[in-house]
């Protein structure tokens, strides 16, 4: 009874679990059931039954409806795909003048649209790319290849690497002082002398195109959402799904609509990068104090002036943090978009990993990480920089940085020019160090990997086998053993207990969608890997976070480490684990754990830190020991914030599980990867992505609702 008073929900939970386990035992595994590829594989098999909706035939293995629901939504991916194809190839044909044939031809509207967008993007990317790298594409765009053949001198020269390096260092200095300037310079020199200049510049030019475009669209949509509740309500669910959708799955429709190449990558990157920009714009505009808005109104601002002279400048910092987010998303997409043909560091990384050339992959990965840290630090420094007053400075003081850059351009060009006389036979290293002609440490790393394999092969293998046979396989079997109905009852029941009817309906709807899709088994595998990763991450995160919190210096150190690790594109994490554990499920899970531990540690520390110091003093004056204080005061109060960390941990883990498909898993991610090479994969890829997003959103809804309630209960808002 005492217990019941303290935990009023206990009975409900007990009841829920009893029902769940009863269903699990009552519903037998059908004899025909084995872990098949999917309930609705699109290959023919006499054991399958089929039904047809909207002209799409869905074939699947029938089971008892309690065990696995039939894939009633199996037609959806086919239908989505057909609709995209229809829009692209048949819908609304209009007359277009064809230059080559000298006549009007009929072409569908969407195709024309996507083609013109693609052409425009390609042009912009080439233009930006040719500033550091040189080339002829831009000139050809204005003239023709014939003209170029006649005028071989016409070529954008490109900047010598020395100039770009100096420019970056000066920019770093301007934004964040001496330290950042030096870091920027060293990074660029490293990139150059290790022969990664060309792919790095390709990746950077990609970011230079994608970031401003995403920024502008995000800002506009953010402003619209701020102004109108309707727009906000419309955008909100899209943003939610986009933020939990794995980046792989958006690649597929982009491939269909825009084809293969940099332009498609930029467009899809924008689609991924715009949602965080919208959110932070909205957050920034919302946090402008009411009185400042009123002051603007009383100064006689009209709506336009109020937005651009009062609201946006006041929200400057939040909006620039949004830019930081956009840059980081763009960068991580620049790596993943290698799958649809984006050139640059990601492409090299992917190639090296495919060839299992860990050394080369490691070099590319290091380069990616360094540039990621640099971009992050620079954009953050920009956001935190406060405007200074320049009125009283001399001309030199005011334009110091510009002057230095101009000088570096002149000196760099002269050095490169002199170099062209002395380094005639080889390459002009003073102009650009070509790819794979710089210093390379790949051989060293590859030897290292071999050595690790030779030395630790047996212990690693033992650990591997033990983990897979003793932990992972049983856990997977348990997850797959759950009858669909039991799982649904568990999810909906939890939703009801935590958040009432509303929550129950939301999580029920989301899980029903997955259950009726053809990929329920796969979703279970994804969930099991995620759950495993999250549990281990949370344990590590809680322990490490709590220990580091005990000392100010270790705490700051740990938060910095988290910051840095978080800037790495998720793909980079696969390199070291492949190096150590080869191509196994263990590698994926270790990558998942490492990646998901970052938010677990961070939120533990932040949660503990958010406990007011007054309460520390109160506890100390009551004479508690350190352990007592931790258990009785800090943990209970920090718990809601830590649960938000759990939320993040799940999202991170889910992302990594999906990316782990590259190494080879059997879950939804693998199917997304397959869809990438499938001609009719657009619908499949998109809906698989939606399924993954829904898994994330189910957890998100449950945790967030619980945290909100708990915070209200504790009076922390």
């Amino acid at each position: 009874m005492e217990l019941l008073k303290k935990y009023p929900n206990l009975f409900q939970w007990l009841f829920l679990f009893i029902v769940f386990f009863f269903l699990c035992f009552a519903i037998d595994v059908p004899e025909t059931y084995k872990f098949i590829r999917a309930q609705a594989e699109f290959v023919k098999d006499p054991n399958q039954v089929s039904f047809t909706v909207l002209g799409a035939e869905v074939r699947y293995y029938p089971f008892d409806n309690f065990w696995r629901l039939p894939p009633l939504l199996g037609w959806l991916p086919i239908w989505v795909n057909d609709s995209i194809v229809f829009l692209l190839e048949e819908w609304m044909p209009i007359e277009v003048w064809n230059e080559d044939l000298q006549e009007f031809k009929k072409q569908p509207l969407i195709l024309i649209l996507t083609r013109s967008i693609s052409a425009f993007m390609t042009f912009v990317i080439e233009l930006i790319r040719e500033i550091p790298l040189g080339g002829v594409e831009t000139i050809v765009a204005f003239t023709s290849w014939e003209w170029l053949d006649a005028n071989p001198w016409a070529k954008l020269p490109g900047l010598p690497w020395t100039v770009v390096t100096a420019g970056t260092a000066i920019l770093g200095y301007k934004l964040g002082g001496k330290g950042l300037g030096i870091f920027a310079g060293v990074t660029m020199i490293y990139v150059s002398i290790f022969g990664q200049w060309e792919p790095s510049m390709q990746t950077l030019s990609f970011i230079l195109v994608a970031t401003p475009l995403s920024f502008i669209f995000g800002l506009i949509l953010g402003i619209m959402a701020f102004k109108s509740k309707t727009v906000e309500k419309f955008l909100n669910p899209i943003i939610m799904v986009m933020q939990t959708m794995p980046q792989y799955s958006v690649l597929v429709p982009a491939l269909v609509l825009f084809g293969n190449g940099d332009h498609a990558a930029v467009i899809i990157t924008m689609i991924v990068a715009i949602p965080p920009m919208i959110l932070l714009t909205l957050l920034g505009l919302r946090s402008v104090p009411l009185e400042v808005i009123e002051a603007g109104k009383m100064s006689g601002c009209n709506n336009f002036q109020l937005m651009f002279k009062v609201l946006i400048p006041t929200a400057r910092r939040d909006i620039l943090i949004g830019v930081n987010q956009v840059i980081m998303v763009c960068f991580s997409m620049a790596v993943i978009a290698a799958y649809i043909g984006a050139k640059g560091l990601g492409w090299n990384l992917l190639l090296a990993l495919n060839q299992l050339n860990i050394g080369v992959a490691l070099e590319a990965g290091l380069c990616i990480s360094l540039i990621a840290i640099l971009l992050d630090k620079m954009s953050l420094a920009w956001a935190n920089k406060q405007i200074d007053y320049f009125g009283k400075l001399t001309f030199f003081e005011r334009y110091k940085n510009t002057l230095f850059f101009a000088a570096s351009v002149i000196i760099g060009v002269i050095i490169a020019y002199i170099g062209s006389f002395y380094l005639i036979n080889g390459f002009n290293y003073l102009f650009e160090i070509p790819h794979n002609k710089g210093i390379s440490t790949a051989g060293f790393w590859n030897k290292g990997v071999d050595w690790i394999f030779d030395t630790f092969f047996y212990s690693l293998k033992l650990f591997n086998t033990w983990l897979i046979t003793e932990v992972l396989q049983p856990m997977r079997a348990l997850f797959l053993r759950m009858p669909a109905v039991a799982t649904l009852v568990l999810i909906i029941g939890s939703g009801y207990i935590i958040g009432g009817i509303r929550s129950a309906l939301i999580v029920g709807g989301l899980s029903l969608f997955i259950a009726l899709s053809p990929w329920w088994d796969r979703a279970l595998v994804t969930t099991y890997m995620t759950v495993f990763g999250v549990i281990v991450s949370c344990v590590i995160g809680l322990i490490v976070g709590t220990l580091c919190f005990q000392n100010k210096h270790t705490m700051r150190f740990m938060l910095n480490v988290c910051d840095i690790f978080q800037t790495f594109p998720s793909f980079v994490y696969l390199i070291p684990v492949m190096m150590l554990f080869g191509i196994t499920d263990t590698s994926v899970l270790i990558a998942v754990i490492v990646y998901a531990t970052i938010p677990a540690v961070r939120y533990t520390i932040e949660g503990l830190r958010s406990v007011p110091t007054v309460l520390h003093d109160v506890a100390s004056m009551s004479g508690v020991t350190k352990i007592q204080r931790l258990l009785k005061i800090e943990f209970p109060l920090a718990f809601p914030h830590m649960m938000l960390g759990l939320n993040q941990t799940i999202v991170f883990a889910l992302f990594m599980v999906i990316i782990g498909a590259f190494i080879g898993t059997e879950d939804l991610g693998q199917y997304i990867l397959k869809a990438l090479s499938d001609k009719k994969g657009a619908g499949i890829g998109l809906l698989l992505g939606v399924c993954v997003a829904f898994i994330g959103l189910i957890f998100d809804n449950l945790i967030r609702t619980w945290v909100d309630k708990r915070k209200k209960h504790l009076g922390i808002v």
């Binding site: 104090p289 009185e291 400042v292 009123e294 002051a295 109104k297 009383m298 100064s299 006689g300 601002c301 009209n302 002036q305 002279k309 009062v310 400048p313 006041t314 400057r316 406060q386 405007i387 007053y389 009125g391 009283k392």
Partner: protein, 343 residues
């Protein structure tokens, strides 16, 4: 009679989705409790008053009393639910958005509790902001802004950013900004509440100095009764959206109309609020002392001299005409006796 600048005629502000409908049903008989039960919050309840040219009207009330809401209705930062508001005879609520912006650009200035400066602009740019919004040339706006900086005594700090200034200095910027367009009507929403006591006193004196020079029509919001007494020509005391009393400071102290108002006046040091004029008697032909006292002097300032006299003292006006007499014992009874009467 001086010109009426602001006129409010049974203004209501009720928050909530069904506010309009409920107000119509209530038929002018608004009860905060019943409204709250139905999900509506009463901000301002039937406010009617006038402010004349050059007058300082202080609206005093505790937090949640609706004083800021009232001010925002008059500046139309929020729309009043019902009632009429006239600014110099023009119906404020019927103005189009464009006319409203025009009115704000030329006739109104407002100072805010949290200063509400633009963080990305320097002092001079902040002050020039309302002028630039009007579309005046930058050079001229800077020149005008520099005049304002001199007026509020911030010379030499024109190129500082708000973050580099103390609270008092920031509010000087806020004041300068609100005065830059030379408005006739000046709204101040708890301008000194966020400041330390000493700075607050300094700013109050500064405010009175400015008003002496500028003669604006002022609505001043405060939750500090002492501040209200010090600054006001007339005071409105508000509670739960209702105007409890509207009167001169002296009358409020001497004749509080409701128990609520009385609770404020009890602790007020009368000698610091009341003027000789407020306590003097009719002119009588008795023997007066040689010492004369101005009718406008605050009792506390002259009490010492009055109490040292044996006879009644003559009270004179600005032109040194005797307008009344005052008895030393009367001074003692007003200062100390008032409280007893009220208990």
């Amino acid at each position: 009679m001086s010109k009426v600048v602001i006129k409010c005629d049974s203004v209501y502000k009720i928050f909530g989705a069904k506010a309009q409908k409920m107000l119509q049903e209530a038929n002018g008989n608004v009860d905060a409790k019943t409204f709250q039960d139905k999900g509506c919050i009463v901000g301002v309840n039937n406010a009617s008053f006038e402010v004349s040219k050059g007058e300082i009207l202080v609206v005093m009330g505790l937090s949640g009393s609706g004083k800021s809401t009232l001010l925002r209705c008059i500046s139309r930062l929020t729309e009043a639910t019902a009632g009429k508001i006239f600014i110099e005879g023009v119906d404020l609520l019927s103005l189009s958005n464009k006319q409203l912006i025009d009115l704000r650009r030329n006739k109104m200035g407002m100072v805010f509790q949290s200063f509400a400066l633009l963080p990305h602009k320097t002092v001079v740019e902040n002050i020039a902001f309302p002028l630039q919004i009007k579309g005046i040339k930058t050079q001229e706006t800077i020149k005008k802004a520099m005049e304002m900086i001199k007026l509020v005594g911030l010379d030499g700090r024109e190129n500082y950013f708000p973050r580099e200034l103390s609270g008092g200095q920031q509010q000087r910027v806020g004041i300068a900004r609100s005065l830059a367009v030379e408005p006739d009507i000046w709204f101040l929403d708890e301008p000194f509440s966020a400041l330390d006591p000493l700075i607050r006193k300094e700013m109050q004196d500064e405010f009175l100095r400015l008003q002496l020079k500028l003669q604006k029509t002022i609505m001043f919001i405060t939750h500090d009764f002492d501040e209200a007494l010090k600054l006001a020509d007339r005071i409105i005391i508000m509670k739960d959206g209702i105007i409890e009393q509207l009167d001169t400071p002296a009358n409020i102290v001497l004749n509080p109309e409701t128990d609520y108002v009385r609770r404020f006046t009890e602790e007020v040091p009368r000698e610091k609020v009341l003027k000789i004029e407020d306590v003097m008697d009719e002119i009588s032909n008795e023997n007066l002392s040689d010492f004369k006292v101005s009718k406008d002097s605050i009792i506390g300032h002259v009490a010492n001299k009055i109490l040292s006299q044996d006879k009644n003292i003559a009270v004179v006006d600005d032109s040194n005409q005797i307008v009344g007499t005052v008895n030393p014992s009367k001074i003692i009874s007003t200062v100390f006796g008032g409280k007893r009467k009220n208990i």
